[in-house]
C-alpha cells in the first residue's frame, strides 16, 4: 500500500559552524503566549525522541524576562540517563513560512545547550526528512 504526502515547504538543515556538520532545525521567533513583546529569535532543533519541546531557561529568562519558577514543575529524562527539571509555560512560536504555534513547552531550570522541538510541535505539522540532501520537508497542517 502506497501513501503520498504533499509537502509545502523545504528547509535546509542548520549548519554547525565548528564542525561543518548540519542538523535539522529551524530559526524561530518566540514570545510568551498572549504577549507581543519581548521577543527572542532562537535556533531550535527537531528531536523526534522528545515528547515535549524543551527550551533553555537561561536564554528565555534573559530575553523574555519571564518568571520561570511560576510554571508547573515537570521532570525530563534523556535516553542517556540525564535528568533535568523544567517548568511548563505556554509559548508562542512564529516562523515566517509556517505561521504561529502555541505550545505548552518545557523550560529548563538549568542551562542546556540546544533548544529542542519535540512531538508537541510535530502534532501541528507533517514532516519528512531527506537526510542525504540535508533537508527536511514540512506541510503546515496536522
Amino acid at each position: 500500500m502506497a501513501f503520498a504526502v504533499t509537502y509545502t515547504h523545504s528547509f535546509n538543515y542548520l549548519v554547525d559552524e565548528f564542525s561543518g556538520k548540519s542538523l535539522p532545525g529551524l530559526r524561530l521567533s518566540l514570545t510568551l503566549h498572549g504577549t507581543d513583546f519581548p521577543k527572542a529569535d532562537i535556533r531550535a532543533y527537531l528531536d523526534t525522541g522528545a515528547e515535549f519541546s524543551l527550551f533553555d531557561g537561561a536564554l528565555l529568562v534573559s530575553t523574555l524576562g519571564m518568571d520561570l519558577m511560576a510554571g508547573p514543575e515537570t521532570g525530563l529524562s534523556a535516553a542517556s540517563g540525564v535528568a533535568l527539571a523544567a517548568r511548563i509555560h505556554r509559548l508562542e512560536l512564529f516562523h515566517p513560512d509556517l505561521g504561529r504555534f502555541a505550545l505548552d513547552a518545557a523550560i529548563s531550570t538549568v542551562p542546556i545547550r540546544r533548544n529542542l522541538l519535540g512531538r508537541d510541535f510535530f502534532r501541528h505539522l507533517q514532516m519528512g526528512f531527506r537526510e542525504f540532501h540535508h533537508t527536511f520537508l514540512i506541510n503546515a497542517a496536522p
Binding site: N12, E17, L59, T135
Partner: protein
C-alpha cells in the same frame, strides 16, 4: 524621438523583498526564514565563533554584538548596543576528533 521614461509610482512604495529571503538554495530547498542573513554569514566565518565556545552569543546582521557565558549578561550587552529582538544561541564546544552526536541531550 522621445526617450521613454519609466514611470515610477510614488504611491506604491513596496518594501523590497530581501534577496537573502527569496533566493533558493542550490538543492532547491527554501532559504527563507528568520535571520537568514546571520545564518548565511556564520557558517562562512566559523573563526568568529571559535573564540566564544561555551558562551552565548548575540548576532545581529554580520556582527557578533555580545557574548558571555551568562545569557543574561549577553542579552543586557546587546540591548545596551541597541538590539531590540535578540538572536541568541549557545556555542557548543567542538566535539573531540572521531566523535559523533547521538541525540541532543
Amino acid at each position: 524621438m522621445k526617450a521613454k521614461a519609466k514611470k515610477i509610482r510614488s504611491g506604491s512604495k513596496r518594501k523590497p523583498v530581501s534577496k537573502e529571503h527569496s533566493r533558493p538554495s542550490p538543492n532547491g530547498a527554501s532559504a527563507a526564514g528568520l535571520r537568514s542573513v546571520e545564518d548565511e554569514w556564520l557558517p562562512k566565518h566559523p573563526e568568529k565563533l571559535r573564540a566564544h565556545a561555551g558562551e552565548y552569543v548575540v548576532v545581529e546582521g554580520r556582527r557578533i554584538v555580545a557574548h558571555s557565558a551568562d545569557a543574561k549578561a549577553a542579552v543586557e550587552t546587546a540591548k545596551r548596543r541597541g538590539v531590540t529582538v535578540t538572536y541568541i544561541f549557545f556555542v557548543p564546544p567542538p566535539l573531540p576528533p572521531n566523535s559523533y552526536r547521538i541525540g541532543f541531550l
